[in-house]
């Protein structure tokens, strides 16, 4: 057995899986076919439903992956085959010739600038040109150039050779060949993603017309790094469009071209793209043509409502059969307006095709060569109860390779796959990893000797800010012992230069003037550490995001500002002192709250990773809501799944189950929580390092709605589910969707109700083909591969009737009347049984929210740390989330999330110690008056008042003094700002340090003249 894992695919799924595995003690190979990791997410402008900038949240993950000591990145490499068995796989990888030596290339971009050959840029979805030698995008990892062999003039015709001539570090190597290597790994995670559907096969949509573009192309048009710098323009004439149409389900929900699945994400990305386009240009007229709007995820319905109400985006429930191009090359769409009951033709300036997600070619090829089973859609096959396990034991899958899904579901599955691989290999944990070693810190001389490194960032800074001028200015500042410019301060060769400069000039403070510390501070801090400097002796001066990029037309003023920003950083850094993170031991066990499927799965995965778990269940037995179900979506019996799961939990030596119990008290912090569990009237203490909240949700009781509770013929879908455990006698059954959901009271979509309804409708029809089953719906949200259930239901003759929220159905004496919004007429259905599909609502989450200080959203479900990239984390370290406690979800989704939460918990439990924040607050006891203000303001219980013996002159007495626990302090500095005695210092952000920076700004940039070899340069204020 090997303590290593191969992750195939470097999109967000592969990145997350690799980071989790590497953080849990496994050597991880991340294999990506393209020149850079990042996948499709790197091409996105924003992410729904928060409209977060996609690159801003992705880029730190790229950097982290690129520099992780336990991740070996094999970019521009293809996996040929996987052989062997669980614990011992051999993975054949072809490292494609990039014709550039990765170890020598600094990513400076000179070659790409000089290369004369232009080719279509796939990063911009073919809407701009790149060079034949290229770096795919600005934040690419690895940041090295790649030669496009099929386009390069030298490699195709033997002419040119410019890139080799201009390359400073001599990295270009035309002789490079493909290289095959073999990796020995214990497990494999497949994260091969998807392929965007190619709409050219659907000739009727006229993708040949320049103003008919795909949604991915539109995304690039919206992006500031896109072909038009974020200005939406027509490809035909460069003019700004006034009217744009989106056509949904292009390459999805279309059996004629064998695309029977729903792609799950298109409704929301079309909504997102429309909102962003409207934010850029509020006069834009946008119409989205759709079949159903599938806004099923957390906050999606709210996003969809905002799109209509706040942004005026029009949604039309009709799929136009074709795009019409007239003699003048203008575009129009013909569609059926159901409200007006007529055919309409409307002109548009631009048509965006919302293309679906196809299984990727590499998924297919790899599955074929390695004997991994695919499902009917071409995705990697899994089961409802084991959503990340492939047909080959030891090989796991995550993300869109398993079926279309959005980013948070992908990220959760990625962590889930990591948990499974880690559990399989837990005996080998830590055997193949290396820890970063840094040299001892050097002794600091009393005077600050500051080194200033000013970055051109290629042309990003240098084309606006006069960098040499800033360098000369920096040299005149107090305490500056060295100043120089750099083309890319972040490149690996620059790190060597910085380290050499530190040694040569005996520097003891370092200032880099480049980009934002939010992404790049850790990089330079590590460089300082490698040179024997404490990482807190470093400061970044942001002269890119905050200067060159926002003052592009004011070059002189931008240069002056850059000088000022550098001056402030220099003044502040002179006061820096070394700070140390403390290593605190931790408790390698977890508490899982909730004994449903999610809680049991999380507990099992943590236990199988080798850590003890206390599973706390409030009821008398395990099982949660799955106990109420009588059939799963794949036809399997929930009781069987449950029985197996409960047995596994009970047999696992690492798990202690406490029934009829709840956690009533928690103190402490990440790695060291102390809690009290109350069970059977007794209280018992429990110590743990991490916690998983899996407390589920409950069914909404539609009291008073549709005669529920008064008429025994009116039941909920959950009740029907139970009834279907036996046969039912009702002959005409009418289901009403969205009862108590998607309304003013509860704006969210119940996510699972459509799928539950369709599943049960099919069960009824299969048991009794004479039964009449009606489903009254607003939008059928059978997303992803669940679309097959919906298709099956229609084939079986189940009747679906669409109604408007404004004209809801009515139930009277078993008769259901509904206004069919497609036929525009009233229908009455005499029903034996009326079934109300209600959503899940939050359980009693307030208690736990108070216990751990973890937030709830407006619907009282738990609020995750980040809706996209941290779907199972809380902002509070060491506490994780899964299942319906976060939002309603299907069984397989809850299981994925539970494994994901386990994986995240294991990244903590597998540590030998916890490192505390270094820049914490400290109390000067001599000044402290023991008032306790700091205790009140701190949200982490870090300060506490202690009795301290004080000796003053002749008197000895006991006084209250505040002490801050550095392990609990997060370094926010609120206490320092609140302390009335000025006794608290927020280290690294002390009042003195902040004061020096302000002072440096307001003193202004002094007018000085500098003697240079070439003459005198006047530096003007």
């Amino acid at each position: 057995m090997k303590g290593s894992v191969a992750v195939v695919g470097g999109g967000i799924a592969g990145i997350q899986a690799a980071l989790d595995l590497a953080d849990s003690g496994f050597k991880t190979y991340l294999i990506e076919s393209r020149p850079s990791i990042g996948g499709t997410m790197s091409q996105l402008d924003k992410t729904f439903p928060t409209n977060d900038c996609a690159m801003c949240i992705l880029s730190p993950k790229l950097v982290e992956t690129g520099r992780h000591p336990n991740i070996e990145l094999l970019s521009y490499s293809d996996v040929k085959s996987i052989t062997g068995k669980a614990g011992d796989f051999k993975v054949k990888v072809v490292k494609k010739a990039r014709y550039v030596d990765e170890t020598k290339c600094t990513g400076c971009g000179t070659c790409t600038e000089k290369c004369p050959t232009k080719v279509l840029d796939e990063y911009n979805a073919g809407m701009s040109k790149r060079k034949a030698i290229y770096i795919p995008f600005a934040q690419a990892i690895p940041r090295v150039a790649t030669i496009d062999a099929s386009k390069c003039m030298y490699l195709t015709k033997g002419k040119c050779g410019v890139c080799k001539k201009v390359c400073g570090p001599k990295a270009v190597d035309y002789e490079q060949k493909d290289k095959e290597i073999e990796l020995d790994v214990g497990s494999v995670v497949l994260a091969t993603g998807f392929k965007p559907f190619d709409p050219s096969v659907l000739k009727q949509y006229r993708f040949d017309h320049p103003d008919v573009i795909t949604s991915l192309q539109f995304e690039r048009l919206l992006s500031a790094s896109g072909p038009t710098q974020g200005h939406v323009t027509k490809q035909s004439d460069g003019k700004v469009p006034k009217k744009i149409a989106f056509i949904q389900c292009v390459g999805s929900r279309n059996p004629r071209i064998n695309r029977k699945h729903c792609s799950s994400v298109c409704c929301m990305y079309a909504t997102k793209e429309s909102i962003i386009a409207k934010e850029h240009d509020s006069d834009l007229d946008i119409t989205i043509f759709h079949i159903d709007i599938r806004a099923f995820g957390k906050n999606f319905e709210e996003f969809y409502n905002r799109a209509q109400k706040e942004y005026g985006i029009k949604y039309i429930n009709s799929r136009p059969p074709e795009v019409i191009v007239d003699a003048k090359n203008a575009l129009s769409l013909k569609y059926e307006d159901f409200n007006a009951g007529e055919l309409k033709t409307e002109n548009f300036d631009m048509v965006v095709l919302s293309i679906g997600l196809d299984p990727s070619d590499s998924t297919r090829a790899l599955a074929g060569s390695s004997g991994i089973a695919l499902d009917n859609f071409g995705n990697i096959a899994t089961n409802m109860g084991s959503p990340v396990e492939t047909s080959v034991p030891g090989i796991y899958v995550c993300g869109a390779a398993q079926g279309p899904k959005d980013i948070p579901d992908t990220v959760a599955q990625a962590s889930a796959a990591a948990a499974k691989a880690a559990a399989l290999l837990s005996a080998e944990r830590g055997t193949l990893i290396k820890e970063r070693k840094f040299p001892d810190e050097k002794i600091l001389s009393p005077e600050p000797r500051i080194g200033v490194f000013i970055c051109h960032c290629g042309i990003n800074i240098g084309s606006v800010v006069n960098v040499p001028n800033v360098v000369e200015y920096a040299k005149t500042l107090p305490n500056v012992a060295h100043a120089q410019e750099m083309l890319y301060a972040c490149s690996s060769d620059s790190q060597v230069t910085i380290k050499d400069a530190i040694a040569k000039n005996n520097l003891n403070r370092v200032v880099v003037a480049s980009c934002t510390p939010r992404t790049h501070e850790p990089l330079f801090q590590n460089t300082c550490r490698e040179a024997g400097l404490n990482p807190y002796l470093f400061e970044l001066a942001n002269i890119r995001e905050h200067c060159s990029w926002v003052h592009m037309k004011e070059k002189e003023k931008a240069t002056e500002k850059a000088k000022g920003v550098v001056q402030m950083a220099v003044a502040k850094s002179a006061l820096f002192q070394p700070l140390y993170k403390q290593k605190v031991s931790l408790i390698n066990s977890a508490v899982v709250l909730g004994g449903g499927v999610a809680g049991m799965t999380a507990a099992l995965d943590i236990a199988n990773n080798g850590y003890r778990v206390t599973l706390v269940e409030k009821e008398t037995e395990l099982g949660g809501m799955l106990k109420e179900m009588t059939e799963l979506y794949d036809g399997k019996k929930p009781a069987d799944v449950l029985k197996e799961l409960i047995q596994k939990v009970n047999e696992n030596k690492n798990i202690v189950v406490v029934n009829e119990a709840k956690l009533i008290k928690v103190e402490g912090y990440l790695g060291n929580f102390k809690g009290i569990i109350q069970a059977n009237g007794k209280e018992m203490p429990v110590d743990f390092g991490a916690a998983v909240v899996a407390t589920g949700a409950r069914n909404f009781e539609p009291a008073g709605l549709f005669n529920y509770g008064k008429d025994s013929r009116v039941v909920t879908q959950a009740q029907l589910e139970k009834m279907l455990g036996n046969s039912i006698s009702a002959k005409t059954i009418t289901m009403v969707q969205c009862v108590g959901a998607r309304n003013k009271e509860r704006e969210y979509c119940g996510r699972t109700c459509c799928i539950d309804a369709v599943k049960n409708a099919v069960r009824i029809k299969k048991a009794n083909s004479n039964a009449n089953v009606y489903v009254l719906y607003r939008d059928m949200r059978t997303y992803g591969v669940m679309e097959r259930l919906y298709e099956n239901a229609r084939d079986l003759g189940i009747i679906f009737i669409k109604y408007d929220a404004e004209k809801p159905p009515a139930v009277q004496d078993g008769a259901v009347t509904v206004h069919d919004s497609m036929l525009n007429e009233d229908i009455e259905i005499a029903s034996d049984l009326v079934v109300l599909s209600t959503p899940l609502v939050a359980g009693e989450n307030e208690e736990i929210n108070q216990l751990f200080k973890i937030p709830l959203d407006k619907n009282k479900f738990f609020l995750e740390a980040h809706p996209k990239l941290r779907p199972v984390d809380f902002a509070t370290d060491g506490v994780f989330l899964c299942g319906s406690a976060q939002a309603p979800k299907l069984l397989d989704e809850a299981i994925s999330q539970a494994s994901a939460a386990a994986s995240r918990a294991c990244t903590i439990l597998s540590r030998k110690f916890i490192e505390t924040e270094g820049a914490v607050s400290v109390v000067n006891e001599a000044k402290c008056i023991g008032c306790g203000t700091c205790v009140t303001v701190c949200p982490y219980n870090a300060p506490s008042l202690q009795d301290v013996t004080v000796k003053a002159e002749e008197v000895t007495y006991t006084a209250k003094k505040s002490r801050i626990n550095p392990a609990a302090c997060k370094g926010c500095g609120s206490c320092a700002a609140a302390c009335p005695a000025g006794a608290i210092t927020a280290q690294h952000f002390s009042s003195k340090e902040i004061g020096e920076a302000i002072n440096a700004f307001n003193k202004g940039v002094k007018s000085i003249s500098i003697e240079q070899k070439t003459g005198t340069v006047e530096v003007i204020v």
Binding site: C56, G230, H546, A977
Partner: protein
């Protein structure tokens, strides 16, 4: 918001603005302004703190006494604080600050509070642009060493 309206004596004069930004939201907003290339006047200098809750009223007074023409206090939107509730504390302190600054005889435009998320680059740029225009109309801070008034 044009410079033409400014008094003649401040022609060509650029205000100095100190902007306190929290690491997680408003500093990120300023970064996003850069990434989105949202142009803004080069009048502001950002002081990064981890949380807006770190901003001590003394830092703000210090900035004015050192000659800032305006001071901006920025942080995460209420409910979004990375440190649970630091910005709630900022809001309370800001009320006090506002009063003191008014007592000092400074115009209300010279001290402003704004919640800016890490994704609101355009909002950040607009904020700097608007404040710069407002301060240009007012002229240099009367507290400025050697300033007007």
């Amino acid at each position: 918001m044009s410079a033409e309206a400014a008094p003649a004596k401040t022609d060509g004069w650029e205000p100095k603005i100190v902007a306190f930004c929290c690491n997680w939201c408003s500093y990120g907003g300023a970064d996003s302004a850069g990434m989105g290339r949202f142009q803004q006047p080069p009048t502001a200098r950002i002081i990064r703190v981890m949380c807006s809750g770190r901003i001590d009223p003394l830092h703000v007074f210090n900035a004015f006494l050192e000659g800032a023409d305006a001071v901006l206090v920025t942080g995460c939107h209420i409910g979004d604080c990375h440190y649970v509730n630091g910005n709630d504390k900022t809001k309370i302190k800001y009320k006090f600050l506002e009063n003191v600054v008014r007592e000092l005889g400074l115009e209300k435009e010279r001290l402003q509070l704004n919640w800016i998320s890490a994704s609101e680059g355009e909002k950040f740029a607009n904020f700097i642009r608007d404040v710069t225009a407002q301060i240009k109309k007012l002229g240099p801070s009367p507290l400025k060493p050697g300033g007007v008034s």
